[in-house]
Symmetry: C2
Subunit: 362 residues, 2 copies
DNA sequence: TTGTAGGCGTTATCAT
DNA sequence: ATGATAACGCCTACAA
C-alpha cells in the first residue's frame, strides 16, 4: 500500500494542453467546452449528421481524438429509449451450432455499436417462459434472435412482440413472415441427399429421424419421404426409426434398422451425432462402411469430418443464417444498414465424403 | 394503415383501478406516485435497502407487482456509473470450449441482473488490440473474462486494468494473481496421463505437442517430460513433434512419429482434435488401436467419445472454470455474492476409455 | 449551420 | 425512516 500515490496525479505541466480541462472519462460536455461549441453540435458529429460545416466537424473530431472521448452507450440508450444490445436465445443445441450462429451474428454487427448478449434457456422447465420474459423485461434489448428448437415456440415470439422487442426466428423451414424468419430448407436438402443414395442404386434406405416435436425432424423426414415417392421407391416396414439427436440414440436406432431382414444398404441419419452413432453400430456388427452400409449425416459438424470414414453429410448454413438474421434485426437501426434485403431462406449443400458408396451386390 | 387505431386505447372503465394512472412502461415515478411515497423510497425497495418500515415496503411491492414495473437497467447504469454486463472475450478456441465456459458463466449469473456479452477477436490480426480496446471503451462492461489463448496476452490484461474494467483470465496455469486468474493445472493432468501409460508398460511414448506460443502447449509438454523424468524413462530422439491443435496436424504429426524406428507404442496428443487425427493416421497404416498403438487426448470434447475407439483423454474443467471466473468477477457486486472465495485452480480428471491398453510384446 | 431547454429513469447527497 | 433536489450523459424539440 503506497500512501503517497494518487490514482490520477494532477500534472501541472499539462496546463498548456487543453486536455488538462478534461476528466478521466471525458463526456460530450467536455468535448463541447473544449471545442467551443454546444453539446448538440458534438452530438451531431458523433451521429454523422450531415448538416454540419465541414470545418466545424474537423475541429470537433480533433478534440474528440485528443481527449479520447467515447460516447456513453448507456446514456444514449436512456435518451433514445433503445439500447445497442441484441440477444441470442437458445436452448441446448449442439455447440457447433451455437458457435456458428454467433460468428454469423458477429460478422453482421462488426463496425456497429451493437453487442451480442447470450441467453440459454431450459425449454423443458416450467419456469422457462417466465425466465425469458424476465430477461427481456429487464435487459430491454434492441431485438433478439431465436435459435431452434426454442424458435419454434409461438408463445415466445408472441411475448417478444408484446414486449416491443424485435425478433427473428431461425429454423429448418420458415417459421414466421419474412421479416421475422430466417431458415434453411431442410426438406429439400434431405431430399437431395436421398436422391443421391437412390442414384447410386440404394433401394432399402433406413431413416434415423429426429425427436418428436422438433420442426427440423419433421422437415427432414418429409424431404426423405418425398424423394422416395418421387423415385417410386417403396420402403419395407421398419425402415424408419426415431432418435433424439444424440450419439447414443444413433447407435440404438441403427441397431434396430440393421436387425431388419433384409437390412438397409444405406442409412440417412437426421444429424451428424446420430450418424456417428450409426457408424459405431455398423462397426459393432463388423460391417464395413461404405461397402456394406452407406451412412449420411446432417449438419456438417466437425464430428462428421473426423470420424472414420468421414461422413457424407448436409452442410447446414447456420453461420449464414446467423448473419442474415442479425442483419434483418438491424435493418433500419442505421441508415446504411437497410440497403439490401436479407435472404430469408438459405441454401444447404450436400458434402460428399467417404461414408457413401453404391450398395453391394445382393 | 388504419387511421383510427391507437396503440393503447384509453379504457375508461379502468378509472377505478390505480393502474389507469400508469404508462405502458411504468417507471419508478409511477410507482412512487401510486404508492404515495418518494422515488427514493421505491429505489430503496428495489435495491433491498434495510432501512425501511416493513409495511411501507409491502405496500410498494404491491404497487410494483400491480403495475408490472421493471427497473430500467440502462438508467441505473447511467446513475451508478457501472452497468450490469459482463463480457467474454475469446479467440477461436473450439466450440465445445466456448459452450462450456458460457454455461459455467451463466450458472454464476443466474438470479442476478447481469447479462453475458460475447466478443470473439482475431488474435492474429494487427488491429486486434485496437478492436478490443474500442469494444471495452464503448460497452463499459462491469468486467470481462478472458479465455485462452487470448487470456495469455499481458498487454490486453493491462488494457483492461487501465480502462477500469475488471477482468479474470482463464488458462492452463495461473496467469495472474488469484483475484484475476482461474486455471486448470494442465502440467499435472498430463503428467498423470503419462504416468498411466508408463504404468501400463509403455516406454516409447510419442508426444504431439501444441503450437508454439500457447501456454497450454507449454504446460502440457512440461507435464509430459516431468512424468517421464520422474519414472526414469529416456525417450529416443524424434518422439516429440508439434501440431497446431487441429485435426490435420494430428494426422501429420502422428505419421512422423510412426515413421520412427522403432515407432512409439503410445501417443499422447495435446488435444482431442489431434488425437482424432492420430487415430486416422493409425488406421491408414492398418494399426489397431489400442493393440498396436495407444492414444491419449486432452479436453474431453464430444469428439473424444464419438470416434472409434473412444479416446482416453483428460477432462478439462472448462465449465467449472467459467463459473468460478464469473463468480470472482461478481464478488462484491452484490452483498450476497462475496461470501465464499472462489477457487483459482480447478482439477482435471483422466477419463479412461478404449484407446489405451498395454503395449504389444516386442 | 448551430444553440437552448428539457427530459430519459435511476441513484446519491443531504436533508428532515 | 423518508424525501427533495441534483446529478449521470445523451438526445429531441424547437428556436435562432
Amino acid at each position: 500500500m503506497e500512501l503517497v500515490s494518487t490514482e490520477r496525479p494532477v500534472r501541472l505541466a499539462d496546463a498548456r494542453t487543453s486536455a488538462a480541462l478534461a476528466a478521466a472519462n471525458p463526456t460530450i460536455s467536455d468535448v463541447a467546452r473544449l471545442a467551443g461549441v454546444s453539446k448538440k453540435t458534438v452530438s451531431r458529429v458523433i451521429n454523422d449528421s450531415p448538416q454540419l460545416r465541414i470545418e466545424t466537424r474537423k475541429r470537433i473530431e480533433l478534440v474528440i481524438a485528443e481527449l479520447g472521448y467515447v460516447p456513453n452507450l448507456q446514456a444514449r440508450s436512456l435518451a433514445t429509449g433503445r439500447n445497442s444490445l441484441i440477444g441470442l436465445i437458445h436452448d441446448n443445441p449442439n455447440s457447433q451450432m451455437i458457435l456458428g450462429v454467433q460468428q454469423g451474428i458477429l460478422e453482421a454487427i462488426r463496425e456497429t455499436d451493437f453487442a451480442l448478449v447470450i441467453r440459454p434457456v431450459d425449454r423443458g422447465s416450467p419456469g422457462m417462459m417466465d425466465d425469458v420474459r424476465r430477461f427481456l423485461d429487464r435487459q430491454r434489448l434492441y431485438g433478439v434472435m431465436l435459435l431452434p428448437p426454442i424458435s419454434e415456440n409461438d408463445e415466445l415470439a408472441q411475448h417478444c412482440a408484446e414486449l416491443g422487442c424485435r425478433y427473428v426466428r431461425m429454423g429448418s423451414a420458415p417459421l414466421d413472415d419474412d421479416a421475422h424468419s430466417v431458415s434453411s430448407n431442410d426438406a429439400e436438402a434431405v431430399a437431395e441427399a436421398t436422391r443421391h443414395l437412390i442414384g447410386l442404386g440404394h433401394r432399402r434406405i433406413g431413416l434415423i429421424a429426429g425427436p418428436h416435436g422438433f420442426r427440423s425432424a419433421a422437415e427432414r423426414r418429409v424431404g426423405f419421404l418425398a424423394a422416395l415417392a418421387e423415385a417410386g421407391v417403396t420402403l419395407p416396414p421398419g425402415m424408419t426409426v426415431r432418435g433424439d439427436y444424440r450419439f447414443d440414440s444413433g447407435i440404438a436406432a441403427a441397431s434396430r434398422l440393421l436387425d431388419q431382414m433384409p437390412p438397409p444398404t444405406a442409412i440417412l441419419a437426421c444429424n451428424d451425432e446420430m450418424a456417428a452413432g450409426a457408424l459405431h453400430a455398423a462397426r459393432q456388427r463388423n460391417l464395413t462402411v461404405p461397402r456394406d452400409l452407406s451412412i449420411v449425416g446432417f449438419d456438417d459438424t466437425s464430428t462428421a469430418a473426423h470420424v472414420w470414414p468421414p461422413l457424407t453429410t448436409v452442410r447446414w448454413p447456420i453461420q449464414a443464417m446467423g448473419r442474415s438474421a442479425a442483419r434483418k434485426l438491424l435493418a433500419g437501426s442505421e441508415p446504411r444498414m437497410d440497403g439490401v434485403t436479407q435472404p430469408s431462406v438459405l441454401p444447404s449443400e450436400l458434402v460428399m465424403r467417404a461414408s457413401v458408396g453404391p450398395p453391394a451386390m445382393s
